[in-house]
């Protein structure tokens, strides 16, 4: 590829990212509600369960904080990706898809746009981390990095699914059979240890999100099941797989 061509593709990626960022800035109510939900998990659910439960000798709320971060990444990323079903219905994508920019660049712009949205929401949630005394603030940068890579995987997954579905009915199905199971089986709300029933342990260990939760919990609370490098490798592998799958499906999308 010539230099001019590369520059044009980069400009295309930037253009799509820029569009997503503008939309993010405009839809303030969406941002607020996406932050309020995790806060409710932390303060309402966390306080309730935390009243009678503590894990690994720390406050239950502190314990689930990394899990709730992962939840925000999961829901935010997958829904962002699925949103292209709606964009396609309204033909917003059509004008972008006919531009002289390759599909993969458009896909990359979308992925980066989604990751930016989600990362900014995560940063807002981190502002509340001082309320959870067990959290080690020095672990935050590494946690952010891990969550960013996780969101690359999950935005790609959302876009991949969004490329396949033509109607919004798919949303319910994906919520019920994919997003919620991924969340509940990630160890976000409970420790992954030998007390778990055998079948549950198996499912949890198959779930790539488990490693994101474990890694973030490791750097923030120093509680982990796997070594950090294992968590990181699994998450990176998950991101690469989903990115490739998503770019293929997005390129084939009509």
């Amino acid at each position: 590829m010539s230099e001019g061509r590369v520059r044009k593709e980069l400009m295309g990626i930037y253009a799509v990212w820029w569009r997503e960022f503008k939309v993010f800035q405009r839809e303030k109510s969406r941002i607020v509600s996406s932050i309020v939900q995790p806060l409710m998990w932390l303060f309402l659910f966390g306080s309730g369960v935390g009243a009678s439960v503590s894990v690994s000798n720390i406050n239950y709320q502190d314990y689930i904080f990394p899990g709730i971060l992962a939840m925000l990444v999961l829901f935010g990323s997958v829904y962002f990706g699925l949103y292209i079903v709606w964009d396609r219905k309204l033909d917003v994508l059509k004008a972008i898809l006919v531009a002289p920019v390759s599909r993969i660049s458009i896909f990359m712009g979308k992925v980066l746009g989604g990751c930016t949205d989600v990362t900014l929401q995560i940063i807002v949630l981190f502002l509340f981390s001082f309320l959870f005394p067990s959290i080690n603030p020095w672990g935050i940068p590494l946690a952010l990095l891990l969550l960013f890579v996780t969101s690359i995987a999950l935005v790609s997954m959302g876009l991949a699914l969004g490329s396949l579905f033509e109607s919004l009915e798919g949303f319910q199905v994906i919520s019920a059979f994919l997003i919620f199971p991924l969340f509940f089986l990630s160890g976000a709300l409970f420790p992954v240890d030998d007390k778990l029933p055998f079948w549950l342990q198996g499912l949890v260990k198959l779930n790539p999100l488990t490693y994101a939760v474990d890694g973030v919990r490791g750097v923030l609370l120093n509680i982990h099941v796997f070594p950090f490098y294992v968590d990181f490798i699994v998450v990176i592998f998950f991101a690469i797989t989903m990115f490739l799958l998503g770019s293929v499906l997005f390129s084939r999308m009509k």
């Binding site: 930037y14 219905k89 033909d91 917003v92 059509k94 898809l97 006919v98 002289p100």
Partner: protein
């Protein structure tokens, strides 16, 4: 100079042939209209020329680039305004153009100037910092025209540019199209099923029906090919045979209780024709329209086929919400 060339361009969807072996040569600077009823293959033809739809067979080139072999170059050379609105209603008018300029690689040093120029051309500078959700249908179309021409394409494709607009707005949109084509020296290819409107703007029209081009000429040329003027007489018992026998009458037919006659120099012969018809309810004499040409060629009125399909109600609701109007 020929800027668009197609050679036996064909598209089939399964057994249905949407476009059948179209051969076209469109000159640089021309305003060319593809006219025909809904489902005739207009949008598919444009889709193939814009590299959105892959031809089943045949070939086409735009500004010397092959639509199948060199789609990226073709895309850079064309601007498209789709039938359905494709503006980003969350963005402002200016932001829509900025997005487009970046996607088409308009260099950053001329971007702002070019955007302002185009906004002025469609009289939207005042509203350019408003979110396009607040725009009227006509304003949105104008912004889409500006967007289509932003990167100085060699060819601008307009698919039903006036669909869904009220007659007054439609007239204004045509004015903008003419003005812009002239100022930007762009070749324009448009589709429409509003025959009267096409007549006023197009240098040349191709009438398309069932995927085939059935006539290709200037609007005047097509009308002349009718072989005279139209006389329409509303009457109960039309004396078809007697009128057909007249030497100057080139065609006679009955259409929904009306006698339609094509004759040379109708003003000279009208009296004689009327003298042969009893109980005349009303008479109309006119120069043929493109719609008359279409009826003559296909035996149907284009408007019979033109019940607009707005899609499923879900889509209608979605569009309604998107427009926020």
């Amino acid at each position: 100079m020929v800027i668009i060339k197609t050679n036996a361009l064909t598209k089939s969807y399964g057994k249905i042939q949407a476009v059948r072996s179209i051969d076209l040569n469109i000159e640089k600077g021309e305003i060319f209209g593809l006219l025909g009823p809904n489902g005739a293959g207009k949008t598919t033809t444009i889709g193939m020329l814009c590299t959105i739809v892959r031809p089943t067979s045949g070939s086409a080139s735009i500004a010397g680039y092959d639509v199948i072999g060199e789609p990226a170059q073709v895309r850079r050379k064309v601007g498209i305004v789709f039938q359905d609105p494709t503006l980003d209603t969350v963005l402002t008018g200016r932001e829509n153009l900025e997005l487009h300029a970046r996607l088409y690689g308009v260099p950053s040093d001329i971007r702002e100037k070019r955007i302002t120029e185009m906004l002025e051309l469609v009289d939207l500078k005042q509203r350019s910092n408003d979110v396009t959700r607040t725009y009227s249908g006509g304003m949105r179309r104008r912004l889409e025209l500006a967007r289509g021409l932003l990167h100085r394409p060699a060819v601008l494709f307009l698919d039903e540019p006036t669909l869904g607009l009220d007659p007054q707005t439609r007239a204004r949109i045509w004015e903008y199209i003419k003005k812009m084509a002239q100022m930007e020296q762009t070749t324009v290819v448009l589709t429409t099923h509003y025959m009267e409107e096409a007549e006023q703007v197009c240098d040349r029209v191709g009438i398309i029906d069932h995927g085939r081009i059935i006539a290709l000429d200037s609007p005047d040329g097509l009308k002349e090919s009718m072989g005279g003027d139209m006389v329409v007489i509303r009457v109960k018992e039309p004396p078809l045979e007697k009128i057909r026998a007249l030497p100057y009458v080139s065609e006679v037919r009955e259409n929904e209780g009306a006698l339609e006659i094509i004759t040379k120099e109708a003003h000279l012969h009208l009296a004689e024709i009327l003298s042969m018809v009893k109980n005349v309810e009303c008479v109309e004499m006119r120069v043929p329209t493109l719609n008359d040409v279409f009826i003559k060629l296909t035996g149907r009125d284009i408007r019979e086929d033109s019940i607009e399909d707005s899609g499923s109600w879900v889509e209608s609701v979605a569009r309604y919400r998107q427009r926020g109007s």
